[in-house]
Each structure stands twice: as structure tokens, then as C-alpha cells.
């Protein structure tokens, strides 16, 4: 490539700055959109992953139907968890009840999620006890006044680095001793934000802390993901029998398997990405047509120049490469500005918490590549037409 031809292409573009900028605008918007789209898509996928990160694909969650309290119309209780061990392909099962309650330590008091769990809940939910111990079988049978606290609870209540273990917190007027601290999770287990939770024995929760205000959650695991459907059928049969439901009655519980929930959520995140990508692609296409239009105008305006260039020895290839370069430079410059704007917008949007966005390398790479391709694709035809102009006709034009 003759470097001077590259310089000439630059000179032609800088000679008409306003037109050059307006031609680039479409590409700038297109590339910035592509980057934003991928950041939104990645953000949505990350949010799905974070929401379900503590659920294995082989988890099955059972909750009361339509979110009604277990005392009103659903007969689902934490005791059902033990019965589900008998269901086909169920490897483990844990019951919990969850409600919101005021938790206080010393003079500090705040509302947190209180989870009444059995001894299996911590392991089934893939939670890690950072210090102290978890809920044990004895705690359930003896309705012990003990608690495990999440990281946010520790930070909120135990100010000044005081160790919570051995201290007592008060929930609904009942004093419970903190026996363990959970490792910071940063995500949810099902609907529960574990970092902002206090986990106590289920029997204690039912008897004296949550009473009938709690919502039952049973978490089970399937021996193999491929057996999820069979396990779901078996759970349904056992619970319908336990709850003595007639054939005409609908289930008073709902079953959600983690695999389906994760794939549904990921699918919707992917659909969102695909939809936004289509919009970005249309923007780039339209901007490409804009560039083609501008290049045709440029060729028409410079027809005489093309004639002169040919008369003094310019080859078709020289003319083609000069006009093609102009189009590529135009779209590349637009692509770079679009990248800067797109990437720059992500931290600003994230800072103001407008939408969940995660910066990804795919967005800028794809955006920039597309911008160059748009330049080549839409610039080629006008450049080709210019290179094929008859020199004498071109020289005659004014």
C-alpha cells in the first residue's frame, strides 16, 4: 500500500470535516450501541448466574402454591422435607421457613430475613460457615436458641470488629446465641439473600420466632440432573398423598427445579442480547448505507479529479484503494469514537445504577470489526464505480 495514498485519503476527509463527522455519526451510534448491548447482555447473564450461583443444576425447590402462608391453605411444612428423602432420585432434602423480622444487638436494630433451617440447609445451599459451627441435629430436636449470621448482618450489628460468636442477638424478643458466621455470598439462594439473613433452627423458628408468619421452603437435590422430571413426579405424588389432596384439588405446593430456572433465566438474558444485537446491527446497516451515500456524493464531486488522476498515471487500483480507504478510515474513526463512548458510558450507567451492565471484550471487538466491515462493504461499490470511470468523460465533468 502506497503510504501517500493513505495520506491523500486522510486529507480528503479532513477537507470536509462536518460531512465527515455526520457520516461517522451513524457508525459512532452503532458501535456504542453494540458495546452497550453486550454490556447489558453480559450484565443480565451475570445477574442470572449470581442469583443462581448457589443452586446446583440438580436442586429442586418446593414452595407453597401461589406464595400463600403454610397455615392458610398450603399444608407444606418443613417436616415434609424429611418425607421427600423417600422420593425417587432424591439425594438430600432440607426444609426451611423464611420471614422478615427485626434483629437487634445492643442498641442496633434492623430488619433482616430470618430463616428457620434444618441441619442439611447449609450444605444443600452450598453455604460455607466461615467461623463457628452450623445448625446441628441437636439444635433442631432441642429447639436451641442459636443462630448463624450472614456477613451483612455482622457488619451492621457488630460494629468495631467485635466477634459475633458467643454474643446474643434478639429476634422478636427472643434471645439467640450466635454460634456461627456465614461466608459472604454476594448472591441469593432461591429468594433469600443469605448475606442479609439470620439462620436459626427450624423448630425454634416455628415455635417462638416466626410462628405462622414464615414461608416454607424445601430444598432437595436430585442424584442426577437427567432424573429431575422423575424426581418432580415422585415429589408431587408424595406431597399430594401427605397433604391428602383429592384428585380434583390442585397442588398446594409448587416445584421449581434449578436447571429449568437457570436455563429459562439464561434464555431470557440471551433473547434480550439477541434483540438488542439486532437493533445494533440495523443501526450499523443504516449507517453503512449512509456512508455509501456519502461516498457516492464524494465520487460525483470528485469525478474531474478522478479523470486527472487517470490522465497522470493513476491506475484503477490506485483510485479504488483511495476511495475505499476513505470509507474505511471514516468507519474506523467512527468505530473508535463509538468504542470510547460505549465503554465510557458503562461505568457511568453502572454508577447511577440505571441498568445492570458488565463490560465485556466481545462488545468492543465486535463493534470495531463491524465498523471496519461496514466501511469495506459499503465503500467498495462507490470506490469501484470511481475506478471504472472513463478518464475522458471524467475530465469533461465540472
Amino acid at each position: 500500500m502506497n503510504l501517500e495514498i493513505v495520506k491523500m485519503a486522510f486529507e480528503s476527509l479532513t477537507a470536509k470535516k462536518t460531512r465527515t463527522f455526520l457520516s461517522m455519526l451513524g457508525i459512532i451510534i452503532g458501535v456504542a450501541t453494540v458495546i452497550a448491548v453486550f454490556a447489558v447482555g453480559k450484565g443480565a447473564q451475570d445477574s442470572v448466574s449470581s442469583q443462581f450461583s448457589n443452586l446446583s443444576a440438580n436442586s429442586i425447590i418446593v414452595m407453597p402454591n401461589r406464595g400463600r402462608s403454610f397455615t392458610s391453605s398450603s399444608k407444606l411444612t418443613t417436616a415434609d422435607a424429611a418425607k421427600l428423602i423417600a422420593a425417587e432420585h432424591i439425594a438430600s432434602s432440607a426444609g426451611a421457613i423464611q420471614g422478615n423480622s427485626s434483629v437487634s444487638y445492643g442498641s442496633v436494630s434492623k430488619n433482616y430475613s430470618v430463616v428457620g433451617a434444618d441441619q442439611n440447609f447449609v450444605s444443600i445451599s452450598n453455604l460455607v460457615v466461615q467461623s463457628g459451627r452450623g445448625i446441628e441435629e441437636d439444635d433442631i430436636s432441642s429447639k436451641s436458641a442459636v443462630a448463624l449470621v450472614g456477613s451483612t448482618v455482622v457488619a451492621d450489628l457488630f460494629v468495631g470488629g467485635e466477634s459475633p460468636i458467643g454474643n446474643s442477638i434478639t429476634i422478636n424478643g427472643k434471645k439467640l446465641e450466635v454460634v456461627g458466621v456465614l461466608k459472604k455470598l454476594g448472591s441469593r439462594v432461591g429468594m433469600i439473600s443469605i448475606d442479609e439473613s439470620v439462620i436459626i433452627p427450624s423448630s425454634t423458628a416455628e415455635k417462638s420466632v416466626l410462628g405462622d408468619r414464615g414461608q416454607v421452603i424445601i430444598m432437595t437435590t436430585v442424584d442426577n440432573v437427567s432424573n429431575t422430571n422423575a424426581a418432580t413426579t415422585s415429589i408431587t405424588a408424595i406431597l399430594r398423598a401427605e397433604h391428602k389432596l383429592k384428585v380434583s384439588q390442585e397442588d398446594d405446593f409448587r416445584i421449581m427445579d434449578a436447571g429449568s430456572m437457570i436455563s429459562a433465566a439464561q434464555e431470557s438474558a440471551q433473547t434480550l442480547t439477541a434483540l438488542l444485537t439486532a437493533i445494533a446491527a440495523i443501526t450499523l446497516l443504516v449507517s453503512g448505507i449512509g456512508i455509501m451515500n456519502v461516498m457516492f456524493v464524494t465520487v460525483a464531486e470528485r469525478t474531474k479529479e478522478i479523470g486527472i488522476a487517470k490522465a497522470i498515471g493513476g491506475k484503477r487500483a490506485d483510485i479504488l484503494s483511495q476511495f475505499l480507504l476513505e470509507s474505511i478510515i471514516l468507519s474506523m474513526a467512527g468505530g473508535i469514537i463509538g468504542m470510547i463512548i460505549g465503554q465510557g458510558a458503562i461505568p457511568i450507567i453502572t454508577y447511577f445504577n440505571l441498568i445492570s451492565m458488565t463490560s465485556s471484550a466481545t462488545g468492543p471487538i465486535l463493534g470495531f470489526t463491524f465498523s471496519v466491515l461496514v466501511g469495506v462493504f459499503f465503500g467498495f461499490y462507490p470506490a469501484y464505480k470511481a475506478s471504472r470511470l472513463d478518464p475522458v468523460d471524467a475530465l469533461r465533468s465540472e
Binding site: 486529507e11 480528503s12 478518464p391
Partner: protein, 235 residues
């Protein structure tokens, strides 16, 4: 091996209108131009002077006949690379309206053919500056065409035609847009070319300009009426 720079045998050139109608312009041109000869092409308006110059300059393919450049038949050549090479290296064009690039300086305009010839940057710039100096334009190298007079623009165009040191200079009404003083200056430069052994082929309708040539070829209705036309003694 003979001494002809250009030789044409029975050359025809026709244009075609969009409805397919054929407009014959050159109708059997036969001519010979020796190396180092200064030839003026004259003739009536519409007689085919400019078309002949464009065919000689490989800007137009001929419709029929033979065209020898340096004894090589190039009448059949249609390959862009070869034609561009001939226009770039073998010939230098000078136009009535100068045809300079308005956005480039005088220096850059002169350099352009050398860029297409891939001459190294330093060499082409030095050459361009020397040429501009030789026509008294050393003070105007960075001026754009709009900042130059017609005569100065034509001198820049002449330098551009010479940058690749071609053997043949083709000029289409080179003084047509100039005042008489500038016209004389340009013709003096052409005479200098001839004295340097270059072949000069110039289209003109002005006898005052044609008198500088060694020989005048007179065209009428697409044919050579006289291969050695004599001007009336008043000129």
C-alpha cells in the same frame, strides 16, 4: 528500428450515444511523428483534434487501426496497468484548464504522478522543487492553485507533466486560458523541451501558437487533410 515516436495507420475512433447510435470522430488517421519533433495539431472545431490527442495519450481506446508507440503496436492494449504505465511514464499531459487538484499545494500537484510511479518520497520532492524552480515558481511551491495566476497554474501543470521525465508531452490548447504574455512564456518552455529532445504534440486552434511547432498536422472531419500544413505568412 526507425525514428518515430508515434505512428498511426488507418485509425478510427467512434463514440456511441446511449441509444446505440455511432458517432464516428476519427475516420482513418494516418500520421507519423518523429522523436524530438514539435508538432501542432490544428483543424476546424469538431474535426477530432482533442479526440486524436486523447487516443495518442491512451485515454481513449481506438476503434480500429494500428497505433505504434516507440515502434510497439499498442492499439490493441486494453489492460489498465499497461495504459496507466504509459500515461505515467511515457507521456505528460498539459490541459487548457490546467486541471490541478484545488486542495493540494503546487508542490503536491507536481509530485502526484511520481506518487503513482512509486518514486521514493525524498527523490520526488527534490525533483518537484527543481522543476518548479526551473519555471520560476520557487516562491510559490506551497500555494494552492486558487492562489496562483493562470500562467503560474499552467507552469505548475507543466512541471507535473515533466516529473516522471516522459519522452512525449501532450498539450491540449495549453495557452487557451492564458493572456498573451503567459502564452509566450509557456511556448518558450515547450521550445526548450523540444531542444532537450522531447517530442511535443500540441493541439491548438491559434496560428500564433502553432508557429512555434516544427510541423502542423491539419485535421478536417476526422481525417488528416495535410501532414505538413503551412501557415499563411502573416503569422
Amino acid at each position: 528500428m526507425n525514428n518515430f515516436a508515434i505512428r498511426m495507420e488507418d485509425v478510427y475512433k467512434s463514440y456511441y450515444l446511449s441509444n446505440g447510435e455511432e458517432i464516428p470522430v476519427l475516420k482513418g488517421i494516418n500520421l507519423e511523428i518523429k522523436k524530438g519533433e514539435f508538432v501542432a495539431i490544428m483543424g476546424e472545431s469538431g474535426g477530432g483534434k482533442t479526440t486524436l490527442l486523447n487516443v495518442i495519450g491512451c485515454l481513449h481506446p481506438l476503434s480500429a487501426g494500428k497505433y505504434f508507440l516507440d515502434d510497439e503496436d499498442i492499439g490493441e492494449v486494453r489492460d489498465d496497468f499497461t495504459l496507466a504505465y504509459i500515461r505515467n511514464k511515457k507521456m505528460g499531459f498539459i490541459f487548457q484548464q490546467f486541471n490541478l487538484f484545488a486542495r493540494f499545494s503546487a508542490l503536491k500537484n507536481v509530485i502526484l504522478p511520481a506518487i503513482y510511479a512509486k518514486t521514493p518520497a525524498l527523490e520526488r520532492e527534490e525533483k518537484a522543487r527543481t522543476l518548479l524552480e526551473s519555471v520560476g515558481m520557487e516562491e510559490r511551491v506551497n500555494h494552492k492553485p486558487t492562489e496562483l495566476s493562470g500562467g503560474q497554474q499552467q507552469r505548475v501543470a507543466i512541471c507535473r507533466a515533466l516529473i516522471n521525465n516522459p519522452e512525449i508531452i501532450l498539450a491540449d490548447e495549453p495557452t487557451g486560458a492564458l493572456d498573451s504574455k503567459s502564452g509566450i512564456e509557456v511556448m518558450d518552455i515547450f521550445t526548450k523541451f523540444k531542444n532537450q529532445g522531447k517530442t511535443v504534440i500540441m493541439v491548438t486552434h491559434t496560428a500564433e501558437v502553432a508557429k512555434y511547432a516544427d510541423r502542423i498536422i491539419y485535421l478536417r472531419d476526422g481525417q488528416v487533410l495535410d501532414n505538413n500544413y503551412k501557415l499563411k505568412s502573416t503569422y
